[in-house]
């Protein structure tokens, strides 16, 4: 691995264990016995003084999704992008490590990002005819 990357990884603080991890076995067993998330949360609160939301319990017990066996279908791709080096890039740009160089010129998956609905509650509703005529 690139020494720069390794140094970054080494400098990262180790992630603390998930707060529910010590109770994993108990939670799984309670779930197996048909307890609801709410009942499990209640037991944890009563016995161990731990306040958890139901989503955290679900995250712990949710089943791992398995991929169905079979041939992989190719992902939709867009037209390959052609990388054009910037004529006047920022100073020192070329000297930086470029880990994506191996992928340049390859097709990449198209992300189907949905538009965000923006609405300002402080603005009055604008009638389309009024705004078009500038009234």
């Amino acid at each position: 691995m690139d020494p720069t990357f390794q140094a970054i990884l080494d400098s990262l603080p180790s992630k603390p264990p998930a707060p529910l991890e010590p109770y994993r076995e108990l939670i799984h067993e309670m779930r197996r016995r048909g307890q609801t998330y709410r009942e499990i949360a209640q037991v944890l609160a009563e016995r161990f003084q731990i306040q958890v939301d139901l989503g955290a319990i679900h995250d712990l017990v949710k089943p791992r999704r398995k991929r169905k066996p079979g041939p992989k279908e190719p992902r939709p791709v867009s037209t390959p992008a052609v990388h054009k080096p910037e004529a006047a890039g920022p100073k020192g740009y070329d000297s930086l490590p470029r880990p994506v160089a191996a992928f340049e010129g390859r097709p990449f998956p198209v992300t189907n990002k949905r538009p965000v609905f923006e609405y300002d509650e402080n603005e009055p509703l604008r009638l389309i005819s009024n705004s078009k005529t500038g009234e």
């Binding site: 309670m30 016995r33 048909g34 307890q35 609801t36 998330y37 709410r38 009942e39 209640q42 037991v43 009563e46 939301d53 139901l54 989503g55 679900h58 995250d59 949710k62 089943p63 949905r114 538009p115 965000v116 609905f117 923006e118 609405y119 509650e121 603005e123 509703l125 604008r126 009638l127 389309i128 005819s129 705004s131």
Partner: protein, 256 residues
């Protein structure tokens, strides 16, 4: 049996293979727009489809007349959403009960609902729960603003159904149909629109007083003598037929 004892008790519950579940909720920002009226129609339609569902009455005003519990005494469960657990009832009810929840949110429930979706949506989605949000539009621009505010908070976490409620005769929906913000909402979310026709006060008012649903009036099963008039029975049948036809066309948003 205490909770501690119940933990060790064997439970013969079959393991479910991630069934798809659905929560249908009204976007409860504006009061008096007809949320409960639509939920009543939807409940009767779901029954007609043979669907099992749980009704949750989340109207915090706790009024007796006009609330879901008033119409479906015993069947609609009252839930106080102003607690730390908030809307977790969605998950717990689906955990043990039918796969569809019909929730009448009541006015002023926006903040609680938005916060719940922020923290719980991803987990709910992984549990296979889909959400249908029903917005009720009247000629009052405040009803439009309410729906748009909810949509801003919920974004693509839900599928949207818009009910155009003709609360008055010759209702004018300009603020819904002809404003930039509403148009942007329609373009982004492509909601299903269901018209709810104007209803005669002669039918609507006594029905509300006696807690009689449209279906009960249509089938002459209401307890109100004034609702037994044949003309009103025929009216109720007509209203119900019209809205059921629209629900039939968009059943994928209400069933699993």
């Amino acid at each position: 049996m205490s909770l501690a004892e119940s933990i060790s008790a064997p439970v013969a519950r079959p393991v479910q293979q991630s069934p798809l579940k659905r929560v249908i909720l009204t976007m409860g920002g504006k009061g008096g727009v007809g949320k409960t009226s639509f939920v009543l129609c939807l409940a009767e339609w779901l029954k007609g489809q043979g669907a099992e569902f749980t009704m949750l009455d989340l109207d915090t005003e706790n009024k007796s007349r006009g609330s879901l519990k008033h119409y479906f005494e015993g069947a609609a469960r009252k839930v106080d959403i102003h607690t730390p657990a908030g809307l977790d009832a969605f998950i717990d009810c689906l955990d043990d009960g039918p796969k569809v929840i019909l929730a009448d949110m009541g006015a002023g429930s926006g903040w609680v609902a938005h916060e719940w979706f922020d923290t719980m949506f991803e987990s709910a989605q992984e549990m296979g729960i889909a959400f249908t949000a029903v917005g009720i539009i009247t000629p009052d621009p405040a009803s439009v603003e309410s729906v748009l505010s909810w949509a801003k908070a919920l974004q693509h976490k839900v599928q949207y159904v818009i009910v155009e409620n003709e609360a008055v005769l010759h209702a004018d929906f300009s603020y819904w149909r002809l404003t930039e913000q509403a148009e942007q909402f329609r373009q982004i979310f492509n909601p299903i629109t269901i018209p709810m026709k104007y209803r005669l006060p002669d039918l609507e008012n006594p029905a509300r007083q006696y807690g009689a649903t449209l279906g009960e009036v249509a089938a002459r099963r209401s307890k109100a003598p004034e609702l037994e008039r044949s003309s009103l029975v025929a009216r109720a049948q007509g209203y119900q037929r019209q809205i059921f036809q629209d629900l039939d066309r968009s059943k994928e948003l209400f069933l699993v």
